[in-house]
Amino acid sequence: MNGRKMRLGAFLMAGGHHISAWRHPDAFAPAGSDIDHFITLARIAERGKFDMVFIEDAAAIRERNPDKASQAARSTSFEPLSLLAALAVNTSHIGLVATASTSYNEPYGLARTFAALDQLSGGRAGWNLVTSASDLEAENFASAGLRPHAERYERAEEFADAALALWDSVGDGAYLPGGAGSAFADPSRLDPVHHRGKHFSVDGILESPRSPQGRPIMVQAGASDTGKELAARTADVVFAASQTIAEAQAYYADVKSRLGKYGRQPDDIRIMPGISPIVAGTEAEARAKYRQLQELIPDAVGVALLASYLSIGDLSAYPVDGPLPDIPQTQAMQSRQQLIVDLGRRENLSIRDLARHFAGARGHWQVIGTPAEIADAMEERFRLGAADGFNVMPPLFPSGLEDFVALVIPELQRRGLFRQDYEGRTLRANLGVPAPASRHSLRA
């Protein structure tokens, strides 16, 4: 049997990924602002030997209309980095990946914050780099409005370079444990950054030892051409949203084919599409679980969510039983928009059908069934060049994650597709992606 193993992320979100998870009879509605809920989830995922937990982010509420917003649980959440700092000291092996924007941060502060997460966790931090596509976010930072797609990515490229340089600014062994007589730090192992670019000027060093994993893991999910190029150059992990295996294979091949020009090997990057699993002992039970959640979605909420994924203001003028109208291409999330439009046309779905579909899995691949059926579906994509692993998005927390750990993980382990135990203590060691060499390790 091929010894290649799947990588798994647990995508955490308040009461669950399903838009109406909070209304479920089993749901603890205030879960999104309860730290103990998140500590519990991280520990369940760690028990299941997941590579990482993942937290998404937007630096704003997600729906402008207060009435629509108030019918969903998505307006407030923890700020991801402080949340993961809390999880870091209450777990021991699982990776901790937070989303942060290159548009509304600056490199020194962000590199420093991720360095802190990396130290607190003993080398388990990861940064999901996003460029932020919503107007609501732009309005919290400047009146100039959302920057065009190309400019956001130009800034992101420069931001990533500055952050990487800062993480290299303090070499292995820069802090001397020596005691009386010696110095506190070895200046020959410091490499101050002097970055002058179009978007940033960055000077200095981080006040933090070098990361136990070399530097934090870089994650991206951009699916546009510029996004894929940035991922090919800098990412260790790529998240993706693909519905069909053909889409997933095309995406996988495309990203891997771009690595060569940056001197990287195909195996240097882990491509992990999202999967929304609804698992139960029998298929009928799984279907019943799904139906129960779908029935809790108010039309207004589902349609508003669909409109936001399409990056258009409003869909409420169109009949909910009719097809999608023609959608103008926007500056924002071009690739997600295309995915939705394609799905609607291909399967001849109404606005309500699409809204319910996306509310459930939010554009990701949904699999409903028994543990063996879910493992079959994952194995197929893993073996046929569509995925190196998956970012798992349970509809309901904690039960959806507990079910996955209790039912699907053992099935994957039995098939030799998933680890029995962690390979190492850092996220990089568990992902099995190469560590960047310290510029200073050569001088030792």
């Binding site: 909070w22 209304r23 509605a29 205030p30 602002s33 730290i35 500590i39 630096a59 704003a60 207060p66 009435d67 917003a69 108030s70 019918q71 969903a72 307006s75 407030t76 959440s77 923890f78 700020e79 980095l81 402080s82 949340l83 700092a85 809390a86 000291v89 209450n90 509304y104 941060n105 020194y108 502060g109 420093r112 914050t113 802190a116 130290q119 607190l120 609501l136 309005e139 919290n140 930072f141 400047a142 009146s143 303090v170 802090y175 005691g179 009386a180 506190f184 730090a185 410091l190 101050p192 000077d203 200095g204 060093i205 981080l206 006040e207 933090s208 030892p209 809790l296 108010p298 909420v301």
Partner: protein, 321 residues
């Protein structure tokens, strides 16, 4: 009864303290946590994390710095020390106000109402005052009872209890609302560190003011008076860097200072961590006898510990009337 705070550092506040530090790694999280637990057991109200006066290191590592960004460290510590409060310094020149408001609201949720922000100003007091206004306004994005979690009606929050800030002034343009729930203690505590001069942002908005040992205290009191700030809304703490080694003499000093100055308590910034251990073991029992510190407290939030009022949402009195 006086209030006590502890300024956390890996080795102590003396530049050469690292040379005589105990074995192990005093900068590691677990070592810092054990210092915090020591302060908590001794009845301290809060731990304070400085941030190098907002300077960033250019080419040297300082033994005075903690190798964790302060807000991240507070988050981690607060899940393992369950009672003591935390004040973290953060510079207005280094964070966007929306991001900073979120970070501290998050810390307040994670710590169950034990977080405070030490405002490190940029030197431009007009900008800093506007900055604090934005953060304070964002912290009022949600009324106390905004979240109703009504599953049957499908209403997660009451839309009329969400407030869009729409701030547009000289330096900042921030729509809001904040995407974090209202703080468990109303708002995180706002604090200022004064060194040598009275700073206008601290005087106009801080609820907790830490002053360098003494001389500017009269100026500070006069400035608070001039702004019409009620003495009951502000806690003033003296930063104490050294004290006598003899426990009785040390207790005498704290007792004398508490009687003679207008301060409400002390922040200890000891030269070494060994000095602090000695303080908690030998001096605290004497202070307890004299009723200056108490190991047990009734409340659970930082505001409870400091006896500070819980801010009421501006829309509340309006509704009541």
């Amino acid at each position: 009864m006086m209030h006590f705070g502890y300024s956390l550092s890996p080795f102590g506040h003396d530049e050469s303290a690292w040379r005589t530090a105990a074995s192990g790694d005093p900068s590691a999280f677990e070592a810092l946590l054990s210092q915090v637990l020591q302060a908590e057991r001794a009845g301290f109200d809060f731990v304070l994390l400085r941030d190098g006066e907002a300077r960033r290191p250019t080419d040297a590592l300082s033994p005075l710095a903690t190798p964790f960004e302060p807000t991240m460290l507070v988050s981690a510590l607060s899940t393992r020390a369950k009672w003591i409060g935390f004040l973290a310094a953060a510079a207005t020149s280094q964070h966007e106000p929306y991001n900073l408001a979120r970070r501290f609201s998050s810390l307040d949720l994670i710590s169950h109402g034990r977080a405070g922000w030490i405002v490190l100003g940029s030197g431009d007091s007009t900008r800093d005052r506007e900055y604090v206004d934005v953060v304070d306004g964002l912290w009022d994005s949600w009324e106390e009872d905004a979240f109703v979690y009504d599953k049957a009606d499908g209403r997660f929050f009451r839309p009329e209890k969400m407030h869009v800030l729409d701030h547009k002034r000289e330096h900042f343009s921030v729509r809001g609302p904040l995407n974090v729930n209202r703080s468990p203690q109303g708002k995180p505590v706002l604090a200022g560190l004064l060194a040598g001069a009275v700073d206008s942002v601290a005087v106009s908005s801080a609820e907790l003011i830490v002053v360098d040992d003494g001389p500017i205290l009269p100026d500070l009191m006069a400035s608070l008076d001039a702004l019409g700030r009620s003495r009951s809304e502000v806690r003033i703490m003296l930063d104490i860097r050294r004290w006598p080694e003899d426990p009785m003499a040390a207790a005498d000093l704290f007792e004398r200072r508490s009687a003679s100055s207008a301060a409400d308590g002390f922040v200890l910034s000891p030269p070494s961590t060994a000095c602090f251990s000695h303080f908690t073991e030998a001096v605290v029992p004497e202070l307890e006898k004299r009723n200056l510190i108490r190991p047990e407290h009734s409340g659970s939030t930082l505001r409870d510990h400091l006896g500070l009022p819980v801010p009421v949402h501006p829309a509340m009195p309006e509704r009541a009337s």
